[in-house]
Amino acid sequence: MLKCRTVWKKLAPLARNSSTLCHQNAKRAVLRNEKRPGLLQRAQMSAGPSGGGGTDNTLYYVLVGATCLGGAVYAYSTLRGDKQRYQDRISEIASRPNKATQEQTEIQTAAPEATKELAEEASEPQSVADEESVPSTPSEEPSPSAEPPAELPSESAPEPSAEEKTSEEPLVTSEPIQETPVEGPTEPSASLAETTEPPLETPTPEPSEPFSSPAVVESAEAIPVAVAESTPEVSAEQIAPPVAESASAAPTPAAAPVTPTPAPAAPTESTPAPVLEHAPYLLIGGGTASFAAARSIRARDPGARVLIITDEPDLPYMRPPLSKELWFSDDPEVTESLRFKQWNGKERSIYFQPPSFYVDPTELAKVENGGVAVLTGRKVVHMDVRGNKVRLQDGAEISYDKCLIATGGVPRNLQVIERAGDEVMQRTTLFRKIEDFKSLGKVSREIKSVTIVGGGFLGSELACALGRRSADLDLEVIQMYPEKGNMGKVLPEYLSNWTTAKVRKEGVRVITDAVVKNVSFKNGKVEIKLKDGRTVKTDHIVAAVGLEPSVELAKSAGLEVDSDFGGYRVNAELQARSNIWVAGDAACFYDIKLGRRRVEHHDHAVVSGRLAGENMTGANKPYWHQSMFWSDLGPDVGYEAIGIVDSSLPTVGVFAKATAKDTPKAAAEKSGTGIRSESETEAVAVSVKAGTATPPSPTHQTDDYGKGVIFYLRDKVVVGVVLWNVFNRMPIARKIIKDGEEHADLNEVAKLFNIHED
C-alpha cells in the first residue's frame, strides 16, 4: 500500500503535468461542448432553419470531435515524451557524478530525512533478501511484466555496472521509495539530482554492493507493482520497466544530496571510514547482556548478522573475575593475559570468545552465514526511533531492524570525592572495567595503603581480594561503609555481622558506620574525614558505591526512564518500544512474579540478554526464568542467592552446624567440576580459593552460621532465597519462588534443601 502511495506520489508530478494538459484540453473541449448545447439550444429554440441548424450541427460536431481527438493525441504524446525526457534527464545527471565526492558522503547517507518506514524495505536486502522481496510484492497487484525487468537489474547489479545506476546502500534504495509519500512531489526531482553519487559508487568496489542487488530487486519490483496499482490510466506495462530503472536509480541517489554535510568519514579509531550502514540486529553496548543476546539471535535466526557497538576498546568479556578470580591468579602477567584458573584446573580468558569468533564489521554484510561483528571504541550518541537508526559519536549513522540497548552503567562516585580536586581524583578508582582492573593492579603494587569505600558486593569482594594479597604486597587494606556490616543491605544483620568478622580475618581493616564527609590531599596522603570525626589516611581510594545506569539515549530515542529504580523502563518482554529492547543492568523490567525491578548481576545480564535475543527473533517470552547471583568472601563464606534479597525484608534463616566440608572450596572440589555453579549454568566463574594462603577455618562456635538457607518474605510469600554455603540447590530455590505460595512453616520448606547433606 505504501509502495503504491510512494510510487504514485513519485509519478504525481508527471501525472499532474500530463493530466493538467489533459484537463485543459478536456476543459476546452467540454466548454466547447457546453457552449455547443447552448448554441444548439438557442438554435433550436430560435426554431431557426433546420437545414442551417443541421449543417451547423454537423460542423460543430466535427469541430468538437477534432478538438477532442487533438487533445487526446496531445496528451498521449506528452506522456510518451515525458518518459523520454525523464530518461534523458537522468542520463544527463548520471554523467555528472564523475565529479562528485567520495563514497563516504554517500555512506553517511543513512539519510537523515529518509526512511520513515524504511525498516522493511531496507531489511529485506539484508536478510534473506531475494526470497523476501519477492513475496512482499505479489501481495499487491502482481505485474508479471514488471518482475522480469526487475530481475534483470538485480542480475546485473552485482557486477559493478555503472549503467545500472543501482545503489549500493540498500537502505538508500528503498528510502526514496518510502520517502515519496512523505516528501511528496519534490521527491522525484530530488532523487534525480541525487542520482549523482550512487552511479559513481557502483564502479568502485563497495562492501555492500552485493546488497544492492537484493535491494534493487526489492525496489525495482516494488516500483513496477506500485506503479501498476497507482496509475491505472497509464499502462502499467509500458511504464513499469522504464520506471523500474529510473526508480531504482532515483532512490539510490536519494541519500547523497540529502546528506552532503555528513563529513566524509570522520576519523575512526578502530576501523577505516564507512564500516557498515545497516545492521539487521544492532546491539548497543558490548557487555554480558549484549553477548548473550548475540548468541541467542544467532542460534535462533540462521545466518543472522549482528552488530555490537561498544565504547570500550575490548571485546565482550565477563565481569565477575575482575573482582575475584583474577586477583587470585599466580600469573604475574595476569593483567595482560586476563586469564584465570577455574577450579577444575582449566584456564580460561575473561573474554567470552576469542577474536576469531567475530566477523569484521566491514565483512558483516557479505559473510555467507552471517555472524557477530563488534565495533569497539564507538559510542552511540543519538537514536532515531522513527527512522530506525543510530548515530555514533563520529557522525556515522547505522540503521537497524531490531535494536538492543545493553549499555549497562557507570560506577557512581561520591560527591565529596568529586569535589576534592584533581589530586584526589587521580588517586581514586571507580572500578568496573578491564582498564580499571589493570590500573588498580598496578597501583596496588606501588602503594602502602588502599581504602575501599562501599560495603556491597564489589566493595567486599575487592576488599577480600586485596586483603588476601596484603601480606605479599605489604599493603594496608581498609574498607569503610555506612552500614553496620558487610553486605548490610543484602544479608540480615546477624549474618552481615558474621560476614564482617570473616572479612576482617582476610586481613582487611573494616570501618563500619562510616559516612565520608570530606576528602582531601594532604602531605602526600589522601585524607578521608568521616562524619563522626574519625580520619583515615590512605594512598588510594577505590569507590564501590553503586552503579548509575546509562540512559543517555533515552532523550533522543524517546524512551521512558524509571524514577524508582533507574534505567530504561521496559515491559515483561524487555521491550521498550517497537523494535527496541533493553537488557542487563540498564533495564528496569517487569518481573511477573516479583514485580518491577532492576537487577545488576551477571547471571541476570545473561538471562535477560538471552531473553531479549529470543524476543528480537520473535519469541515474545516474558521474563520468567529467575536469575541468580553468587558471591564468595574468602574461603569460608560463599553463597548463592535468587530473587529479591533485601535485608529490610523479614527473613527466616534455617541453619545447620557447618562441618569442614561445607565451604565453597570443598563444594567445588567434591562435585569435581571446580565451578560451584556449573551444574546451574553452563559454566560460571567462581572464586578461586587460594587454598594455600589461608588456614583452615575452624567453625565451632555456638552461633555458627556455617550453612543454611535464608528465606526473604514479602507478605508471607518467599520472594528471595540465600543458600548459605549450600550449593547445587538453586533449582529448588527457583521453584519455591516461582510457586509464590504462602508456606506456614518455613522449616518444612527448608527440609527440601537437605542442608545437612553435601
Binding site: A299, T681, E682
Partner: protein, 158 residues
C-alpha cells in the same frame, strides 16, 4: 534439637540432622510440562532441537554454527540403525569448518570443544533446573563432538 531465635524481624532456626530427617510436608505447585514460558532443555516439547540451549555453548552461534546445526539435526532426526550413519558428510563439513578456527574449537580435546571456550562464556541460569524437567545436560553430554556422533548426544527423552 532445633531451636529458634528471633532477632527483630529476622527469625533464626538451628536444626540438627535428625530434625530434617522427616520428609517435608511443604507443598510445591506441580509444574506444567507445556508451559510456554519455561525454558526447555536441549529438546523442545515438540521434538525440535533447542539451539539456544546454554548446554550447547556457542556451537550453534559461532562461525561454524550452520554446519553444526546441519550435522546435529541430521543426527537427531536420523532413523538409521546406527544413528547418524548417513550424516558423515555433515559432520565432516563441520569438522572442516572447525579446523579453520582452532582458537575457537581446540582440537586437543575430543569431546566438547566448546567446553573450553564457549562454555563458561555465557553462564546462563540453565533451564534444566526444576525437578520435573528432563535432565538437560551437563555441558559434556548433549553436545556432539566434532569427531563423531556419540550415542550420548541423543536427546534425553523428549
Amino acid at each position: 534439637m532445633s531451636y529458634c531465635r528471633q532477632e527483630g524481624k529476622d527469625k533464626i532456626i538451628f536444626v540438627t540432622k535428625e530434625d530434617h530427617e522427616a520428609p517435608s510436608n511443604a507443598e510445591l505447585v506441580a509444574d506444567d510440562p507445556n508451559d510456554p514460558y519455561e525454558d526447555h532443555g536441549l529438546i523442545l516439547p515438540n521434538g525440535d532441537i533447542n539451539w539456544n540451549c546454554p548446554c550447547l555453548g556457542g556451537m550453534a552461534s559461532g562461525p561454524c554454527g550452520q554446519q553444526f546445526k546441519e550435522a546435529f539435526s541430521c543426527f537427531h532426526y536420523s532413523k538409521e540403525e546406527v544413528k547418524g550413519s548417513e550424516c558423515v558428510e555433515n559432520f565432516r563439513n563441520m569438522q572442516e569448518c572447525m579446523q579453520r578456527y582452532p582458537e575457537l574449537y581446540p582440537q586437543d580435546d575430543d569431546n566438547e570443544p566448546s567446553k573450553e571456550t564457549d562454555d563458561a562464556a555465557a553462564p546462563t541460569a540453565t533451564d534444566e533446573t526444576a525437578p520435573t524437567n528432563e535432565k538437560d545436560s551437563g555441558p559434556a553430554e548433549s553436545s556432539p563432538t566434532s569427531e563423531e556422533p556419540t550415542p550420548t548426544a541423543s536427546p534425553p527423552k523428549s
